[in-house]
């Protein structure tokens, strides 16, 4: 039976399908219309930060396999979207991280030694070994504090940006999350609040195609993650997340607009999680290696290097020397971190509250005067 359509029900059509902002072409040359036209030194800095991130990831994964650290969650393949977006933030802006953005933390000036101390959870770790590795905190660097529960940082970033706006500043807040996190309560609430409050927040969705073993198409029936901006009245854009200049350019524009009160924005950064979800994961159990291989072709570092070649700004010898120096710096940090003692027992009881109440003092005394546990099994 043929029925006539009487109510105007519409199937949403994606308005974002084919629109992905790219700057660096496969040949390394830039598309001039989208090029952020950064000075060569800054382009080099971004490139070096990506290489540094890769070197650290590789080394930390090795350390975990050797049993010297308990855990690492890295950004293999996602360096361009993390560094490009972090670099687009102005010094007065804030970054609310997920758990994969140590590259952004280091970009902000957090000392490598402190980061490595966090990986070892030693006495000099900023969070005193209270949290797992890669769960750092960087307030001095206008950088948030990492927690594991998915999505929670998003509403917080909105509140933070909203507060900054109430105080009359032009501060902008960026918040990272994976595409899996767009299914979480806090994504929807965060986007909704941000839209209603005109909060100066940039939602940075790293669409790396996988949420542990769950592929991105199982997270949503929307055609793209950028589409989600439509329902909340939040302007959105898709960008090639393996292109550090494109990511920089897009986020920079969102920052400038947000600073003028034109935020919030949703940026879907298309990238790929080349490694496992974390050192606890073996992705061979759920995805084909040729998929990974095809993404390796789009490696943001290779692309970045090609671009440098077009600028004639960086030689193989310089590249080699930079990598060697970074490896040496990291090695020294690891050696130092490994030598440092564990946090004192008192750090377990202090800092639960501003002032430690009687019951925790009592428990601390019991613990300190009681028998010591055996080492980790």
């Amino acid at each position: 039976m043929q029925t006539e359509q009487v109510v105007p029900i519409r199937t949403p059509e994606s308005s974002f399908d084919d629109e992905v902002v790219t700057v660096i072409g496969p040949d390394g040359k830039v598309r001039p219309e989208a090029d952020p036209k950064l000075p060569v030194e800054q382009v080099l800095d971004l490139y070096k930060a990506m290489v540094r991130t890769r070197i650290i990831d590789t080394q930390l994964e090795r350390l975990q396999r050797q049993g010297r650290i308990g855990f690492h969650i890295g950004s293999l393949g996602e360096e361009a979207c993390i560094i490009g977006s972090a670099a687009a933030m102005r010094p007065q802006d804030w970054i609310f991280p997920c758990y994969r953005e140590f590259g952004a933390l280091l970009w902000r000036g957090f000392p490598l030694q402190s980061y490595v101390d966090n990986m070892f959870g030693n006495a000099e770790d900023v969070v005193m070994g209270r949290q797992m590795p890669d769960h750092y905190s960087g307030k001095k660097y206008n950088f948030g504090s990492v927690s594991s529960p998915i999505g929670t940082q998003m509403t917080q970033a909105v509140g933070f940006g909203w507060a900054a706006k109430k105080k009359g500043t032009d501060t902008v807040v960026s918040v990272y999350f994976g595409e899996g996190a767009t299914s979480s309560n806090d994504f929807h609430t965060g986007m909704n609040f941000a839209g209603v409050m005109d909060a100066p927040v940039i939602f940075l969705c790293r669409n790396n195609r996988w949420a542990i073993s769950v592929p991105s198409e199982k997270q949503t029936a929307s055609k793209t993650f950028a589409d989600k901006g439509v329902a909340y009245g939040v302007p959105a854009v898709r960008v090639d997340g393996n292109d550090f200049l494109a990511t920089y350019a897009v986020v920079r524009e969102c920052v400038e607009k947000s600073a003028k009160g034109e935020g919030p924005f949703l940026v879907e950064m298309l990238t790929y999680r080349v490694g496992g979800h974390s050192t606890s994961d073996d992705p061979r159990a759920y995805r084909a290696s040729d998929e990974v291989d095809s993404w390796r072709q789009t490696d943001p570092l290779v692309r970045g290097r090609k671009h440098l070649d077009t600028l004639d700004a960086w030689s193989d010898a310089e590249d080699e020397a930079f990598r060697k120096d970074t490896e040496a710096e990291l090695k020294a940090c690891i050696a130092a971190a490994e030598e440092k003692p564990k946090p004192a027992l008192s750090t377990m009881f202090e800092g639960v509250y501003d002032e430690t109440p009687w019951h925790l003092k009592e428990q601390q005394e019991q613990c300190e005067n009681g028998p010591r546990a055996k080492e980790h099994h």
Partner: protein
């Protein structure tokens, strides 16, 4: 009889009941193709297909809310929460909805659902992969709470839980997952919900524990035996409704009680157990009951072995309690 670890025993229970009852559905994050981050649901996807073993979007409130809806319709969903630390986005659905449906609808609607979730520390998981939130659910009328310590009990209890007509929180001690292997029948069998087990008989002091800490309690019982103290060890297996009779009977014999749990002390389940025993066996107590628990702090990373109530802390508590002179 096959030897199974706890992961395999839970898997066997799920497989058994999914073969028995086509209304049993498994859903959660990563439970499908990869078989869960701990591989507890491994192979179920291949056997039962994506219609019954479902990788959901990343939203615990969605997992539990839709599982409740399926249960209301008549299915028997067994949702997995990847770590019990991540159950909180679903807290509203569990506490306000699943727990209250039977009561608030005058028995019209019931929620036969088992929420499986790994619990506990000692695996280098820090704040968010180590906690023991059982007492939050015990405190909520309408939920049953189960926590097996070993593979055999895990299979029998899970089969009972899936067949139960009330919502059950099924906590799986992740530190035990691959640490213990024992004989577990391939065939089906059940262990009743609400029955504790005296796993070691003794005369001088009663120790109550569950989950991973049961093994610590047993190790301490061995240790104090060398000093002539005979400890009776009770594995609760079901936390709520608790088998208070077994505990009271034991305390009437020993006159002394030590409770062990990983969760923080304040309002931990030990507090309720201690109150119940005081109410029901006050005159039999010959020493102050003692709780050996996690500290009242967030669960730490580097110092987790100092946080947990392990053998090194249970043994002195047993000795002091057993030797206490009023």
């Amino acid at each position: 009889m096959p030897q199974m670890n706890l992961v395999q025993a839970v898997n066997s229970a799920l497989r058994t009941e999914m073969r028995n009852d086509e209304d049993v559905i498994v859903l959660g994050e990563d439970v499908g193709k990869v078989g869960g981050v701990f591989r507890v649901t491994q192979g179920l996807f291949d056997e039962f297909g994506d219609d019954r073993v479902i990788d959901t979007p990343l939203a615990e409130g969605g997992i539990i809310g839709t599982a409740i809806g399926m249960a209301l319709y008549g299915l028997r969903p067994v949702p997995e929460i990847q770590f019990s630390d991540f159950i909180f986005p679903a807290f509203d659905q569990i506490v306000s909805e699943a727990a209250k449906f039977r009561y608030r609808s005058g028995g019209e609607y019931t929620v036969p659902m088992v929420i499986r979730t790994p619990v506990g520390g000692g695996i280098r998981g820090g704040h968010y992969h180590s906690q023991s939130p059982e007492s939050l659910f015990i405190h909520t009328a309408g939920l049953k709470v189960v926590c097996p310590s070993n593979p055999y009990d895990a299979k029998g209890l899970l089969l009972s839980a899936i067949r139960d007509d009330d919502p059950v929180l099924f906590f799986e001690p992740k530190r035990v997952y691959r640490a213990v292997k024992m004989d577990v029948p391939e065939d089906e069998y059940t262990i009743p919900i609400g029955k504790a087990k005296v796993v070691r008989e003794g005369e001088d002091v009663t120790v109550v524990g569950w989950g991973a800490m049961l093994f610590e309690a047993l190790a301490s019982a061995d240790e104090v035996a060398e000093e002539g103290v005979s400890a009776e060890v009770i594995d609760l297996r079901t936390l709520w409704p608790v088998d208070i009779d077994t505990i009271v009977e034991s305390v009437k014999k020993t006159g002394r009680l030590v409770i062990v749990h990983e969760a923080p002390k304040a309002c931990g389940f030990g507090a309720e157990l201690l109150s119940l025993v005081t109410e029901k066996a006050f005159v039999h107590l010959e020493a102050p009951p003692v709780r050996v628990t996690g500290w009242d702090t967030p669960f730490p990373y580097t110092l987790e072995m100092e946080y947990l109530p392990l053998q090194h802390r249970i043994t002195p508590a047993l000795l002091e309690t057993a030797k206490y002179i009023p």
